[in-house]
Amino acid sequence: MAPVQKLGNVDTKKRTSQKVAFGIFTLLSYLVVVILFFILGFIIIQGGKVISWDFLTKAPAEGMTAGGIFPAIVGTLYLVLGSSLISFPIGIMSGIYMNEYATNGKIIRFIRIMTNNLSGVPSVVFGLFGMSLFVITLGWGDSIIAGSFTLALMSLPLIIRTTEEALKSIDDSFRHGSLALGATKLQTIGRVVLPMAFPNIITGLILSIGRVSGETAPILFTVAAYFLPQLPGSIFDQCMALPYHLYVISTSGTDIEASRGMAYGTALVLIAIVLVVNLLANALRSYFAKKVKMN
C-alpha cells in the first residue's frame, strides 16, 4: 500500500518539540534538587560554625545570644516520647481495625474520609483545639501532657495510613494458611500478619517522629515556653522545644542579630533530626526488603 503523502515530514518537528520539552523538565527537576541542596548546605554551613558540645549540652545564656539549646533538645525529646506513647498504639490499632476487621465498605470509606480530613487539618487548628480541650477544659494547663496529646492526634493519620498500607501488602494466603491451622483471627494477626508488616509500620512510625519533632504551631499554646531556667520536673510542667525556640530567637529575641548564630545552630539540629529520621527509615526499608527477598 502506498504511503500517504499527508504523513509527510513532521518527524523532525515532533522530535524537536520532545527534545525541548524534556530538556525543560529535566532542567526544572535539577533546579528543585539545587534548591534543596542550597537550603541544606546553607544551614549546615552556617549552623556548623556554632555547633559544639557546649551548644548541645548547655542552657541558653545572655538573653539567648550565647550558651546552648540543651533544654530545647530535652523538651523536644519529651514531646516526641509523650506523643509516641499515645499515637503509636492507637494509630497501629486503628490501622489493624481498618484493614483486618472492618468489613462494611461504607464504614471503611467513612473512616478513611475522616482520616484524610484529619490529615488536612492545619497544624494551627490543632493548636487551638489542644488549648481549648487539654489546657483549659481538662485543666492541664500549658504542659508536656497537653502538648503530647495535641501532637499525637495530629500525627495519627500518617501512622494509620502507613499501618494500613503495610498490612494491605501482606498476601491473604498467609492469613488463610494460619486460619486453616485453627488459629483465631487475633492470633493470625498477632503472630503472622503483624510480624510481616512490621518493617513498613516501623518506617511510618519513624517518619511520624520526624514530623512531630519539627511542628511548632500545635505546641505554641499547649506547652512551649519561651525560656525556662530549669528542666521540666513532671508531665504537668511546660518545656522548651527546638522548633519554637528557633521561631522565637529568629523573630522576637532580645537581640535578634546577636542570636542569629544560635538560630543557625538550632535550625541545623532540626535538619539533622529530619536527615537522620529519613536515612533511618530508608535504611530500614531497604534492609527489610533485602531480607524478604532472601527468604
Partner: protein, 250 residues
C-alpha cells in the same frame, strides 16, 4: 518479496535468555501466525518488529531485523518512523480516554496531519474498513469506553490502520473477546491480509489455522518450525510441534 527479515535474533530480559538464535523471513502481503505455549517467546519476538521491547528496561537484543531491507535496529533509525509503518493491535482492547473519532484520528494527529477534511475522510474510511461504521456512525463524539469489548478491539484496529502501515502486528487480539466478536475480527483479518503483511500471535490453534498462510511454532525461546500453515497442522516435521497441535501439552 521479503517484508520482514530476522537473522539470528537473541533476546534477553536481564539474565533470562528469552529468544534463542531465531531467523525468519516473512513475505509481503501474507499473514503469519505465531503459536506456542505461554512464555515461549512468541509475543516477545513480535514486539521486536516495532521495537516495543525498547520500553522494557534491562533488555538486550543481538542479531538483525530488517524491514523492507532496512535494519530497524541500525544506528540512526528513528523508532517513531518505524512504528508509523508497523501498526500494532494489543491483547486487550486499549482505546484512549477520548472520543471514538479522536481515537482513530490520534495517529494522524501525532504524525502532524492538520487537514481536518482529510482526517475526517480517513476516520470514516477506516471505520468502514473494520466494519464498525454502521455501529458507531451516530456516536462518534462519545467516549470510546462506551463500546463493547469487541467493538473496542475493532476500533483499535481502525486506529492502527488509519496511518496506513504496511505491516500489522496483532498480539493475541481476540483472547479477551467473546466468540462472536472473535469471529468478526477473524473475518476482518481475512480481508486485511490482501493489503497488509499481518503477523498474529495466538493461543488458539484453530484461529491460526483459519487466518494464516504460514505458521511458526515457538517453544522455550526457540523457533521449532516455520512452514505453510496447512503443512504445520497436517504434517509437521518435528515431534514437538506435533505434540503441541494435537494438544498433548501446552
Amino acid at each position: 518479496m521479503i517484508k520482514i527479515d530476522a537473522q539470528n535474533v537473541d533476546f534477553y530480559y536481564g539474565d533470562f535468555h528469552a529468544l534463542k538464535n531465531i531467523s525468519m523471513q516473512i513475505e509481503a502481503n501474507t499473514s503469519v501466525a505465531f503459536i506456542g505455549p505461554s512464555g515461549c517467546g512468541k509475543s516477545t519476538f513480535l514486539r521486536l518488529f516495532n521495537r516495543m521491547n525498547d520500553l522494557i528496561p534491562d533488555t538486550h537484543m543481538d542479531g538483525k531485523i530488517g524491514i523492507d531491507g532496512r535494519d530497524i535496529y541500525g544506528k540512526g533509525e528513528k523508532v517513531d518512523q518505524l512504528r508509523k509503518n508497523v501498526g500494532m493491535v494489543f491483547q486487550k482492547p486499549n482505546p484512549f480516554p477520548k472520543t471514538i473519532f479522536e481515537n482513530v484520528a490520534y495517529g494522524l494527529r501525532v504524525n502532524g496531519v492538520k487537514d481536518n477534511g482529510y482526517i475526517e475522510e480517513t476516520v470514516v474510511k477506516t471505520l468502514k474498513q473494520v466494519v464498525l461504521w454502521d455501529e458507531v456512525k451516530d456516536k462518534l463524539k462519545e467516549s470510546a469506553f462506551a463500546l463493547s469489548g469487541g467493538q473496542q478491539q475493532r476500533l483499535c484496529i481502525a486506529r492502527a490502520l488509519a496511518i496506513s502501515p504496511s505491516i500489522l502486528l496483532m498480539d493475541e487480539p481476540t483472547s479477551a473477546l467473546d466468540p462472536i466478536s472473535t469471529s468478526k475480527i477473524e473475518e476482518l483479518i481475512h480481508e486485511l491480509k490482501n493489503e497488509y503483511t499481518i503477523v498474529i500471535v495466538t493461543h488458539n490453534m484453530q484461529q491460526a489455522a483459519r487466518v494464516s498462510d504460514k505458521t511458526g511454532y515457538f517453544y522455550l525461546g526457540e523457533l521449532i518450525e516455520f512452514d505453510n500453515t496447512r503443512k504445520i497442522f497436517t504434517n509437521p516435521e518435528k515431534e514437538s510441534t506435533q505434540n503441541y497441535i494435537t494438544g498433548r501439552f501446552g
